[in-house]
Symmetry: C2
Subunit: 226 residues, 2 copies
């Protein structure tokens, strides 16, 4: 296993920031860094798992094979942990993670990670804060998926890419129309139709995967009211 110099890593998680040099050195001995290309699977549902996965660079989708199609649960951007719930409680992964662009991840030995949690309460504290945040996100997500119509959900997704991922009004969406549908609980065709409507209304300029938000306020209104 490649020895990593975690102490000098400047993309530490807030949990890792609580560790001292000695602890970071131990961590480096139980870590490996791997690069993935766009489209590659980082870890897969139902596969055995004994690593915590930390996303250092890049964007990934978290997805589960549903009864009808792939369900994209969320899209995550570095830096963040990817596989804490999936590895902590279960022996097998309960969801998959796939790179949406070239990414770098650290595979951290689960045993060592648990040691840190058991021995370092500050570390645990930060992990708990993280898990709480994602649970709240997940709850909000449930409401939005359930109660908004397709236009609202597509608008939501565009606003999500704008605010959470690219922090710009102009970006390339990292997913196909099919994946977009799997992300906002609708069909590829419906996504296309909503996008052309937004384009026709000069709210969002849509050119293939390239998105330019023209009227942010109106887009927010659509996100709220559908």
């Amino acid at each position: 296993m490649k020895r990593l110099d975690c102490a000098s890593c400047n993309i530490k998680s807030s949990a890792a920031k609580t560790l001292n040099v000695a602890e970071l050195s131990i961590m480096g001995e139980h870590c490996s860094e791997v690069k993935f290309k766009k489209g590659e699977t980082i870890f897969k549902e139902n596969a055995f798992s004994s690593n915590i996965v930390y996303l250092k660079h890049g964007i990934v989708k978290i997805h589960i094979e549903g009864p009808n199609s792939e369900q994209i649960i969320k899209i995550s951007k570095a830096p963040t942990y990817l596989g804490i719930p999936t590895t902590f409680d279960e022996k097998i992964n309960r969801y998959s993670a796939t790179a949406l662009e070239n990414t770098t991840v650290c595979f951290i030995s689960l045993e060592m990670f648990k040691q840190f949690i058991r021995n370092n309460a500050d570390f645990s504290y930060e992990i708990i804060v993280d898990l709480c945040k994602s649970e709240l996100d997940s709850f909000n997500n449930t409401v939005n998926r359930a109660q908004k119509n397709i236009s609202g959900r597509v608008a939501d997704a565009i606003l999500f890419f704008h605010k959470e991922i690219y922090k710009s009004k102009e970006f390339q969406i990292p997913i196909s129309r099919i994946e977009f549908g799997n992300f906002v609980d609708t069909s590829r065709e419906s996504v296309c139709r909503v996008l052309t409507d937004l384009d026709n209304g000069k709210i969002v300029k849509v050119r293939g995967k390239k998105i330019t938000i023209l009227d942010l306020e109106l887009l927010k209104t659509i996100s709220k009211n559908g």
Copy 2:
């Protein structure tokens, strides 16, 4: 504040089980036990919050006010923590909890709870395990809500009450038809129709709120395939 004798409590959370007598005594000094009647609000979305809530007895619904209606995120049964994510990261509650039957909860001082997490890594560990479990549940929920049709989701809910809450084939559902709809992302009317179909097909006997599962296997099939 009423002083509680946490040491002698036999409904301790797995986290609280890691505490020694001295710690449990401290906990008792920073806890208060409150009883709620069916229908009463335990804590409310957008209200200020400075307590961790532990459900000792009873069943509650966790809900969020959505753009169109109340969204029931989940239904939880004692013993469990209710408000970790809502209090840990935020100053205000991000969701409400309402008693579905007479319940007993402990309000635990957030400051003290954070002290335990910072000082007792075994305690933190158990909290993390809990949070991981609920995140996984939440992910599965997302898939089921998105990809199953109404029959499947209603069947799911009945199986949920059977397996997770009452552990019996016969029970009274603790929610109205409207709430049932808010729980499985549909209208009151659609819930009624699916329930009469299940009753007509002799799969589930439905008499008002009283449910008797007659054909468990068929119900599971409906849950899967709609």
